[in-house]
C-alpha cells in the first residue's frame, strides 16, 4: 500500500507515537487500577484519569500555540512548561 499521500515526516510520526504511547500507558494503568480513580480536585468537579489526560493534552496544545504566537517558533521551553502543566493537572485536578 502506498501511503505517500499521507505525507509522513519524522517529527509528526514521533508526535503520534508519543500520543499512542500515552494511550497505551493509560490502558495499562486502567488494567492495573480499574475504575479511572475518580476524584474532585481544584476544578470542583469529578474527573477521572482519562479526563485529566484530556485536559493535559488540550492545555498543552494551547500552551504551545500561545508560545508560538507570543514568543517564537522555538518550542522547547513551552514543551517543558506543558510537562509541568500536565504533572500539575494529574496532581491537583
Amino acid at each position: 500500500m502506498d501511503f505517500s499521500w499521507m505525507a509522513w515526516t519524522w517529527p509528526t510520526a514521533t508526535f503520534f507515537g508519543v500520543i499512542l504511547a500515552l494511550l497505551c500507558g493509560m490502558a495499562v494503568w486502567e488494567y492495573r487500577v480499574p475504575g479511572g480513580s475518580p476524584r474532585v480536585g481544584i476544578l470542583r468537579f469529578e474527573t477521572t484519569r482519562g479526563d485529566r489526560l484530556f485536559i493535559s493534552l488540550l492545555g498543552s496544545a494551547f500552551i504551545n500555540l500561545a508560545w508560538l504566537g507570543l514568543v517564537g517558533p522555538e518550542l522547547w521551553w513551552s514543551l517543558a512548561l506543558s510537562v509541568v502543566y500536565a504533572v500539575c493537572v494529574f496532581r491537583f485536578v
Binding site: 499521507m6 505525507a7 515526516t9 488494567y31 488540550l58 496544545a61 494551547f62
Partner: protein
C-alpha cells in the same frame, strides 16, 4: 466481595474503532502532516516546520473570521434556545394537534443545507424574491448582497428558521416525559405558571437542553453551506466564517499547508469550547440532582 472486571467486551467495539480510524483518525493524521509541509501537488512535500501555524496566529483574516463565528454562535444560541423552549411549552400535549405540530416542526430539518441556502437566497432577492420585494415595497432599504447588516440578518433568520425546530423537538421530548404527579403537586401547592416552569419543567429539560445547546453551538460554529450559498461570505468578507475561509484557502487557493494549520487551530477551539459547555452543563445537572 471483590468485584470482577471483565474487559473482553472491549473487543466488541473494535469494528467501531476501525470505522473511526478510517473516517476520522487517518484524515486527522494527514491534516497534521500537511500542516508542517508545503506542496505544489503530485504528492511532493517540502518541510515548512511551524511557519503555517505562525502565519495563522498572526493573520487578521483568521482572528476576524473567528470573531464573526463566535458572535454568530452567541446570537444563534441566544435566539434559538429561548424560542425553542417557548414553542415547546406552547405545543399541544395531546389530541390531533400533536402529530400536526410535530410534522410541521420536523419539516425544516428535512431540507438539505444547500436547498435552505438557495431558498433564502431567492427569497431575499430584491428583484424577484418575495421577502426582498415586499420589504422594498414597504419602503425598507434591504439588500443582503450589498449591506452587511442585511446579510447578517438574513443568515441569522435563515438559521433560526432552519434549526429552532431541533431545539423545539428536544425540549418537547423532555416536557412530555415529566410525570403528571409533578404538575398535580404544583397545583396543590398553588404554584404559579412561572414556578412550574422554573422548578419543574426547566430542571427536567436540563439533559435535553444540554444536547440542544451543544448541537446548536457546534453546528453554528462550523456553519458553512447556508451562508456560502446565500452570501458567498460577502459583502466583502462580512459573513466569511472560519469554515468558508478554510475552504477558500484549501480549495480556492490550494494553500493546503496553511489550511491544514488553520483547521487544526479551528479543531482545538471547537474541542475546547465543546468540552467547557459539556462540563459546565453536566456538572450543573449533577449538582441539581443531589
Amino acid at each position: 466481595m471483590e468485584r470482577t472486571y471483565n474487559n473482553k467486551a472491549w473487543f466488541l467495539v473494535l469494528p467501531v474503532l476501525v470505522l473511526v480510524a478510517f473516517s476520522a483518525i487517518i484524515p486527522l493524521m494527514t491534516v497534521v502532516n500537511y500542516s508542517v509541509q508545503d506542496t505544489f501537488g503530485n504528492n511532493q512535500f517540502f518541510w515548512a516546520g511551524l511557519d503555517w501555524f505562525q502565519d495563522v496566529l498572526e493573520s487578521n483574516r483568521f482572528w476576524n473570521a473567528l470573531g464573526r463565528n463566535l458572535i454568530f454562535s452567541a446570537i444563534i444560541l441566544a435566539i434559538e434556545i429561548p424560542l425553542g423552549i417557548y414553542i415547546a411549552l406552547n405545543m399541544p400535549k395531546k389530541g390531533w394537534g400533536v402529530p400536526v405540530c410535530l410534522v410541521l416542526m420536523a419539516l425544516p430539518l428535512l431540507i438539505p443545507w444547500n436547498v435552505v441556502g438557495t431558498i433564502w437566497q431567492v427569497f431575499g432577492r430584491v428583484d424577484i424574491g418575495l421577502l426582498g420585494r415586499t420589504l422594498a415595497a414597504a419602503g425598507i432599504d434591504y439588500n443582503y448582497v450589498q449591506d452587511p447588516v442585511d446579510a447578517w440578518l438574513t443568515i441569522i433568520v435563515m438559521d433560526v428558521w432552519h434549526w429552532t425546530s431541533l431545539v423545539v423537538l428536544l425540549c418537547y421530548a423532555g416536557l412530555v416525559s415529566i410525570p403528571d404527579a409533578y404538575y398535580q403537586a404544583a397545583r396543590i401547592d398553588g404554584a404559579s405558571r412561572w414556578s412550574v416552569f422554573r422548578f419543574i419543567q426547566l430542571p427536567k429539560m436540563g439533559r435535553v437542553l444540554l444536547i440542544a445547546v451543544l448541537l446548536r453551538f457546534m453546528d453554528s460554529f462550523m456553519i458553512y453551506t447556508e451562508p456560502f450559498v446565500v452570501t458567498g461570505g460577502g459583502p466583502g468578507n462580512e459573513t466569511t466564517f472560519l469554515s468558508i475561509d478554510l475552504v477558500k484557502m484549501a480549495i480556492g487557493q490550494f494553500d493546503v499547508g496553511p489550511a491544514a494549520a488553520m483547521s487544526l487551530v479551528y479543531f482545538l477551539i471547537v474541542l475546547s469550547l465543546s468540552w467547557v459547555f459539556y462540563t459546565v452543563m453536566t456538572n450543573q445537572g449533577q449538582e441539581k440532582g443531589k
